[in-house]
């Protein structure tokens, strides 16, 4: 929303400058560890950049592989990221490390904000999307509030009173928002050293171009959206956008997809307004509209209480929900209340144990998929097909067809080209989906297979810099950014509109959220926190965060012998000074308990985590799938995590990281879990020829 381009996620392969010999000078990996989350892509790319002399700052509670290779490591207290970001912003402003000319010309920070409404008054409202509204600035020459036509401005800072109303520039609003966050204050909140914070800020700010990449860590606490805003603000203030060597870029695309690499047309415009308005949690957390998603905790409450309406059926297409959702024991209770549960996946997981119907899908080696990567399009091609499985793209269509045949009007219309309009009518094979997309570039699937990897554009043409400076043919002016003001909206006024109406994500107007969303980042101390002197922190004195190891991807791969033997059970990292009080040694099994439940893991005493903090890898145990635990109760971090309020205002994030736990030495491993390499032999692949195609009509 602030930039109007893609976020520079390394794990999602969006930080495209990393893959070339570019002008990057410094990188900040903030709660992201590409060596773990994507070793083969981003991990290798960041490694290449380091080898070329690119400086790195890693901000992460555990001493990750990337932290070990960083110039500066800031082992932040889990959940306090926004406080540190605000200190970065304050320092960058105070020491004039920002790109002043760029901020003046290309961000909305010079525009005046009405301090009462928090909105930016308009001198003129535009109905043409190519032309932005006209905002006010403070004109120094006449010492008055003047409308300033896009695109140039000349005053950045100040507080002004006009007709009894107080106006401040966006810049001043930002400056005041971060005023309390000195390096010393951030050091105190984040359990860091103030000098080291300053060194890290300077290393990044004085070595532009570069980029700051966040991972899912900051997405997993109720302060999530503010962390994304803070991260983006730091990069934008430094002018790290669309320059060669910046991670935020709008390079060209092939034009094949509606959403990047999204394999199924989403037909969002066809969803009836009344459906959109009653989406659970969708009015309170309107940011969810960007993903067309509902709010997990609101869904959980609806199942448990029947309010605002009861839910009866759960069709799930994902791995192990019980290993992935917060406070999974409550979800088990919810599942018992449902009439029908369907699980669509490649192999059985804990969730399957509670399902009434299983719909086995093809494994990735059995499916075809189109992939766009940099300036190439690739066809990932099926190499085998075993047993009775169906491509999941087709299963959805089959379900719709079955409902249509039984008289469901909406499902019948999904197959009607006239009703579907520009969208693809429902399909009978995944090839139909590919043709729908590929015909946009005059391709078909066979041609793509033959030419893979197909360079759809030479790299020089694809790697487009300074897109905001391109002339708009209609206005004759620089086209700016894909935002309402065409400027980088560091003062994110549209947060207020989003909260009140659902725009720009919702196609219809939604009732306002209970509270306005904030246009600037703010810090939220974790609800369960070691610095709160309350009952929770007394009983559960340690703060837990989790994270990834390179061998697993999300909740998958625990059933692969060559991976599982390397990491058979989750490690619980504890600083030796903390462990002393619990009489725990490396290799001991320990109980990890939160207010919500208890699990076990293997203690590892290491200096790689700070005192008072526990790091643990999430887990589930496919080997106990057919026991009473169904594999999700032994070592699953999400037994401990927190699904109740507070939530992030904008997108409703609950607490998957940064909550309170206690440790106790355990007598041994949970019953029935596999730990020795030989234990995993039953999961070794058994050679098989191609099996008969089975396709149930």
């Amino acid at each position: 929303m602030m930039y109007g381009g893609v976020d520079p996620s390394i794990a999602d392969s969006n930080a495209l400058e990393l893959y070339f010999d570019s002008e990057i000078k410094a990188l900040v990996l903030w709660g992201t560890d590409p060596s773990c989350s994507c070793p083969a892509s981003g991990g290798g790319a960041v490694n290449d950049q380091r080898a070329k002399g690119v400086k790195t700052v890693v901000i992460d509670p555990p001493f990750t592989q990337d932290a070990a290779k960083a110039d500066i490591w800031l082992p932040i207290r889990p959940g306090t990221d926004v406080a540190l970001m605000m200190a970065w912003i304050r320092y960058i402003i105070e020491h004039r490390l920002y790109d002043a000319e760029f901020v003046l010309k290309w961000t909305n920070l010079p525009y005046l904000v009405d301090t009462e409404t928090k909105l930016m008054p308009r001198a003129a409202v535009s109905s043409d999307p190519a032309v932005p509204d006209t905002f006010y600035v403070w004109d120094k020459r006449t010492d008055s509030m003047q409308p300033l036509a896009y695109p140039w401005d000349d005053a950045l800072e100040g507080t002004f009173t006009v007709d009894g109303r107080v106006y401040k520039t966006g810049f001043t609003m930002l400056k005041e928002q971060v005023a309390d966050f000195t390096p010393e204050r951030a050091a105190e909140i984040c359990w860091l050293d103030a000098d080291r914070i300053v060194k890290a800020i300077r290393l990044f700010a004085e070595n532009t171009p570069g980029g700051l990449a966040i991972g899912v860590a900051t997405d997993q606490t109720p302060n999530s959206v503010q962390a994304a805003m803070g991260a983006c603000t730091i990069d934008l203030l430094l002018g790290n956008v669309e320059r060669p060597g910046a991670l935020m870029q709008r390079f060209r695309t092939s034009g094949t997809f509606d959403m990047p690499n999204y394999p199924v047309p989403i037909c969002a415009d066809l969803l009836p307004d009344e459906q959109l308005r009653k989406r659970l949690g969708g009015n309170e957390h309107k940011g969810l509209g960007i993903w067309f998603a509902g709010h997990p905790s609101s869904i959980l409450e609806a199942v448990l209480t029947g309010k605002p309406y009861p839910l009866r059926v759960w069709i799930d297409r994902s791995g192990n929900k019980l290993g992935a959702v917060a406070d999974s024991k409550r979800w088990q209770k919810a599942m018992e209340r449902l009439d029908l549960i369907v699980h669509m996946y490649m192999y059985p997981t804990s969730f399957s144990a509670y399902a009434d119907i299983l719909l086995p899908t093809e494994e990735w080696l059995e499916t075809n998929m189109m992939v766009e990567t940099c300036n190439t399009l690739c066809a990932r091609q099926q190499v085998t097909h075993l047993w009775e499985t169906v491509d999941e793209t087709v299963i959805w269509s089959m379900l719709a067809k079955a409902c249509a045949d039984r008289g469901d009007e909406e499902c019948r219309r999904a197959f009607d080209p006239e009703f579907m309009g520009k969208n693809l009518p429902y399909w009978s094979s995944e090839k139909e989906v590919f043709i729908h997309f590929l015909k946009r570039i005059d391709f078909d699937w066979e041609k793509l297979c033959w030419l893979t990897p197909y360079e759809y554009m030479p790299r020089r043409d694809w790697q487009t810099y300074y897109v905001y400076q391109w002339k708009d043919e209609k206005t004759g002016l620089a086209q700016g950014f894909n935002t309402p003001s065409k400027k980088l909206e560091i003062y994110l006024e549209s947060m207020i509109t989003l909260g009140r109406t659902g725009k720009p994500f919702s196609k219809c107007e939604l009732p306002p959220a209970s509270k306005d969303y904030e246009p600037l980042p703010y810090y939220l101390e974790p609800h369960e926190s070691p610095v709160r002197d309350d009952e929770v922190s007394r009983e559960f004195p340690l703060v837990l965060t989790s994270g990834r190891v390179p061998y697993y991807h999300h909740s998958t791969l625990r059933n692969i012998p060559f991976l599982r033997e390397m990491y058979p059970a989750p490690e619980v990292w504890v600083n030796p000074r903390t462990a002393e009080g619990y009489g725990i040694e490396t290799g001991d099994w320990v109980w990890v308990r939160s207010k919500r439940g208890e699990i076990r893991g293997i203690a590892v005493l290491t200096e790689g985590i700070g005192p008072g903090i526990v790091w643990m890898e999430r887990f589930w145990n496919p080997e106990t799938l057919n026991t009473k635990t169904h594999g999700w109760k032994e070592m699953n971090v999400n037994i401990l995590t927190k699904a109740d309020a507070p939530f992030n205002d904008v997108v409703g994030t609950y607490t998957l990281r940064a909550f309170q736990v206690q440790l106790e030495k355990a007598d041994g491993a949970p019953e029935g879990v596999w730990l020795n390499p030989e234990d995993f032999k039953p999961w070794l692949p058994k050679p098989s020829g191609r099996t008969k195609e089975v396709f149930v009509k």
Partner: protein, 206 residues
Amino acid sequence: MSRYIFVIDADRCIGCKGCQVACKAENGIGPGENRNRVFDVGPTGVFPDLEMYFLPVMCQQCEEPACVAACPTKACRRNEADAVVMIDAETCIACRACERACPYGALTLNRERRVMDKCTICEQLRREGEKPACVKNCPGNALYCGDIDDPDSAVSQLLAQTRPEHIHKLRDTGSHPGNYYILRNAAWQDLLPRELAERRGGRRQV
């Protein structure tokens, strides 16, 4: 004569252990058996002032291999052509003498085939002009192999471009290991794999 060895750029190893998996898949090595392993060396120091690097360990292609000396059937020997230490499956009796003799833990019992197993620098792939599985699959580009006697080989060139104080070998217990390690960005720790496994300061050392 040529001498094939590995040169390992430890600064470039990101500790993902992809090489272990790639080796197993290529060479048919079962669970609990390893031709190569990656160890965490560290963290050393006291929080938050720490150092850590990652150490891939495979057969060190010793000049006087302890495994060859220990083998009672002469199944374990050095190739004449490229000096790579090999095990002849026909004459190996799987007595595990070589495994006990090797200071680097580089030999493993292949339970399926009932023979001792070790890194051959993927002889079968090299014959086809390909690189070993570990080298091909290393996301960090940390692994290099080639003929150290050929001054134009990639390994010789890499060493020639590296300052001598950054070039290391695993501790020599008398067998004169052939592989080289490059480490610039951390202090080299003189530790053998079994000592690292005992320390296990970080992740599980499997």
